[in-house]
């Protein structure tokens, strides 16, 4: 090797590599001194969270904070994972638009636009499930998105659930030949799912083909349990129909909203079906459908008591955040820790994103909120909101 080449190699080791290491150190964020609600390993008082890039690196009490790390002092504050709203219409363009009674291949990501300066984000909500509107029987794929970043970056799971509407919602928007009764709806669903199964078995080794196949392929994902069914159902009979249907085709099922879910809590618990409990105001406003008659703010508490896993949602595009719903559920019988879990880890599990969200653990996304007072109390107020390791809001 020539002397010059040796020189270059030596200089490289002296300057370039250390510079890179220093750069990595600058991307470390340390939050210390707060009461950390990890949701996975209990509450850690005066703990430290180390974040590197967009991921949580470590959580503990005696952690060495690397030199050059950016420090956030959370003394006297509460730290929780970013809050998750398990069912919203956030960012959905042309809200409520419906073209077909059965449109399983539609995806909300194709109509999603990130909102700027979201009040939910400022208030500590970092990720939501965006649902197709319930006016189709089979409405398509809902997605899990973060409230920060353009569509490509914000969407963390494009096909996170298939929307299905039992009950009145779809029946109110009839098209030609659409069923007029509940048994008609179930009949039609069965036809579609059987067709999809046949299609799946026939085309096992072929990639996608005509448009009709795309609709059937979408249902195929549900049949193979790759995507859960998010079934909106309020009346006890609608919920039992959902259970029966899911059992028949061996589907993964979640009950959405479920005004009367507390009336069949035992069935749900036995079948291990989670419920995304609808907002407390559901059915109380102008012209709420009769099928929500059984709704009570005690719904989440009663379900939890029976052993059903619950998440909480607003079912709205904007307005009051899921934290207020959590507060209301808490004041009506859902224990505080369960209520916090319902808007963090349990929600993440129901949405199928628990590998990334919902708790403060090494390896998960660095989505965190620092609070003055408990987030589910009247005076809870977010002070700092962090998404993907970056501070996106500071009060």
């Amino acid at each position: 090797m020539t002397r010059q080449l040796k020189m270059v190699i030596v200089l490289w080791f002296i300057f370039v590599i250390p510079l890179q290491t220093v750069e990595a150190r600058h991307k470390v964020l340390a939050i210390r001194g707060g009461e950390i609600h990890t949701l996975s390993t209990g509450i850690l008082k005066d703990g430290i969270i180390l974040i590197e890039g967009a991921t949580i690196r470590a959580v503990g009490r005696q952690l060495a904070i690397p030199k050059g790390a950016k420090l956030i002092d959370a003394t006297g504050m509460i730290v929780t994972p970013g809050i998750i709203d398990a069912r919203t219409y956030y960012g959905l363009q042309r809200f409520g638009a419906r073209t077909e009674f059965i449109q399983p291949a539609s995806r909300v990501v194709d109509a999603f636009k990130q909102r700027e300066n979201s009040r939910w984000l400022k208030g500590g909500v970092t990720a939501v499930y965006v649902t197709p509107p319930p006016t189709s029987l089979l409405g398509g794929f809902g997605a899990v998105v973060k409230l920060v970043g353009d569509t490509d970056k914000a969407v963390i799971k494009a096909e996170a659930g298939m929307n299905l509407s039992f009950g009145e919602a779809a029946l109110q928007f009839p098209s030609r030949n659409s069923p007029t009764t509940r048994q008609g709806m179930l009949g039609q669903l069965r036809l579609e799912f059987v067709r999809a199964k046949e299609h799946m078995d026939q085309h096992k080794n072929e990639p996608g083909a005509a448009e009709e196949d795309i609709q059937l392929q979408a249902i195929g994902k549900v049949l193979r349990r790759e995507v859960p069914l998010r079934a909106v159902a309020h009346m006890p009979d609608d919920i039992m129909s959902a259970l029966r249907f899911a059992d028949e085709f061996n589907l993964e099922l979640v009950i959405d909203l479920g005004a009367g879910a507390h009336q069949v809590a035992n069935y749900l618990a036995r079948a291990e079906i989670p419920v995304v409990v609808g907002p407390s105001i559901m059915g109380l406003g102008s012209g709420g459908p009769l099928e929500m008659y059984a709704h009570t703010p005690e719904n989440a508490g009663l379900l939890h008591k029976a052993g059903v896993k619950v998440a909480i949602c607003t079912d709205m595009a904007y307005g009051r955040s899921v934290l207020l719903e959590g507060l209301i559920a808490k004041s009506h019988g859902l224990p505080e820790n369960a209520a916090l879990k319902a808007v963090t880890l349990d929600a993440a599990e129901i949405l199928g994103v628990e590998d990334r969200l919902g708790s403060i653990e090494p390896g998960k996304d660095a989505d965190l909120v620092i609070w003055k007072n408990h987030p589910l109390s009247t005076w809870g107020e977010s002070q700092t909101v962090i998404v993907n390791g970056t501070v996106v809001f500071e009060r």
Binding site: G123, I281, M316, S321, L324, S331, T378
Partner: protein, 441 residues
């Protein structure tokens, strides 16, 4: 002998003649008359003390008219409050409720609601009785004539702690009619009736009907014209003793009669106005006719806060829940208005909002900087003053109606639940026993 006395004294009238007097045993008469007096005296007093005295002790009381009393006593007799304080003597025989540290506040007065008019679950059979749309002016129509007090929303309102409510016609026409103030004591409209709720105007032009104004400016103009007609109507009656010159049959105009009461300030008037522009039009009407006017919704208060406070024009603000959350800075204008002495009331505008969360709405204001006692005033004494029923409700003071709530925590905390509701001394709701006066026959 007594019969003779009665006959003489009461039938013939006056004292009997000397001869008759000699026949009557005067001593016995005096005894009998005294006996009657004693019996009457006893009857009056016994029935008087049959009026129940109730003492709520060991309570954290929010009288509103004075500072909070952390360990206080609320004394009531019959339908009225006897006293509120710290070291009160509890009369013998009084029923005592030990509140055990629970929180007591006056029953909530809601200044704006459509409960019973827009019924909670309307199918194809019933429709909204909220908006009369045959004509833009319906001053002669009464909210009480389109009111179903058996709507399921009423028991829910009690659970929320609302005891007095102003039920008001809708906003789709410039003048939708007269409101009615009710107390939620169960029964039909007559039993609930409490006071006249004033007139309703709306600066809003969303109705696409041929005889309706097409813009909010036209609405303002229509109302101005109608109020002027009402003035002329009154002047004509004063001048001629009737509407038309002598000789012609007076034509009673019920609409103008009703509007006259607004012009003379016999009735107050609530004006729906959401944007700053709509509020401007309402404020101009107030000035021109010197109306006793309050603004409904008032989201544009951000712009007009100072002027409204200075002119003592109250605002009934809402609905806040469910649309607004904890981060909504839109409430800041209302907070500023109240800070400058403006009288703010908070309403939920059932069914667009829901009074189940009326205290939550108040808490949202406190989060934006309003002092807690101001927020509680916005639920009680301010709407009472607005509705001209301040002498009866809105605070816990001697002589006022015994309408109060017992909560399991501070009323401003959203987590707190209303456990018991009393109206005029009678328990109308109990969370533990599920007793609700609207659900019993």
């Amino acid at each position: 002998m007594v019969n003779k006395l009665v006959l003489i004294y009461f039938v013939k009238g006056g004292l009997p003649s000397v001869q008759t007097r000699e026949k009557i045993n005067v001593k016995a008469t005096i005894w009998i008359l005294s006996g009657i007096c004693v019996v009457v005296f006893l009857c009056v007093n016994l029935s008087g003390s049959r009026e129940k005295v109730l003492a709520v002790t060991n309570a954290h009381i929010y009288p509103i008219s004075q500072d909070e009393i952390p360990a206080g006593i609320l004394l009531l007799k019959g339908t009225k409050i006897l006293a509120v304080g710290k070291n009160l003597t509890i009369p013998q025989g009084a029923e005592v409720i030990d509140a055990n540290g629970k929180h007591v506040m006056p029953g909530i007065v809601e200044s704006h609601s459509h409960m019973g008019q827009k019924q909670l679950w309307q199918g194809p059979v019933t429709h909204s009785n909220n908006n009369e749309l045959s004509d833009p002016v319906n001053a002669h129509c009464l909210a009480i004539d389109g009111l179903n007090t058996h709507d399921i929303a009423f028991p829910m309102a009690l659970e929320a702690g609302v005891t007095t409510m102003n039920i008001i016609p809708g906003s789709r026409s410039p003048n939708s009619g007269q409101a009615v103030v009710v107390k939620l004591r169960g029964g039909s409209a007559e039993e609930l009736f409490f006071a006249h709720g004033g007139m309703k105007f709306a600066i809003r032009a969303t109705e696409r009907r041929p005889n309706f104004p097409k813009s909010i400016e036209e609405v303002g103009e229509l109302l101005r014209v109608k109020l002027k007609e009402a003035q002329e109507y009154m002047a004509a009656i004063e001048q001629h003793g009737s509407v038309t010159p002598a000789g012609r049959t007076p034509a009673r105009n019920l609409k103008l009669e009703a509007l006259s009461k607004v012009v003379t300030r016999e009735w107050f008037v609530g004006v729906h106005a959401t944007t700053a522009k709509e509020m401007s039009i309402a404020m101009d009407l107030q000035k021109e006719f010197n109306l006793d006017l309050y603004i409904i919704h008032g989201y544009g208060v951000t712009v007009h806060a100072e002027e409204l406070a200075k002119r003592s024009i109250p605002i009934s603000y809402g609905p806040v829940f469910p649309i607004m959350g904890r981060e909504n800075d839109a409430l800041d204008g209302a907070v500023r208005f109240a800070k400058q002495g403006g009288r703010l009331s908070i309403h939920q505008d059932h069914p667009d909002g829901h009074q189940y969360y009326i205290r939550h709405a108040a808490a949202l204001f406190v989060r934006r900087g309003m002092p807690v006692h101001e927020a509680l005033e916005a639920l009680t004494i301010n709407p009472a003053e607005l509705l001209r029923i301040k002498d009866r409700v809105g605070s816990l003071e001697a002589g006022k109606d015994a309408d109060f709530l017992i909560l399991n925590g501070p009323p401003i905390e959203m987590e707190s639940l209303v456990e018991q509701v009393f109206i005029e001394g009678k328990e109308v709701y109990n969370r533990r026993t599920r007793h609700n006066v609207f659900n019993s026959n």
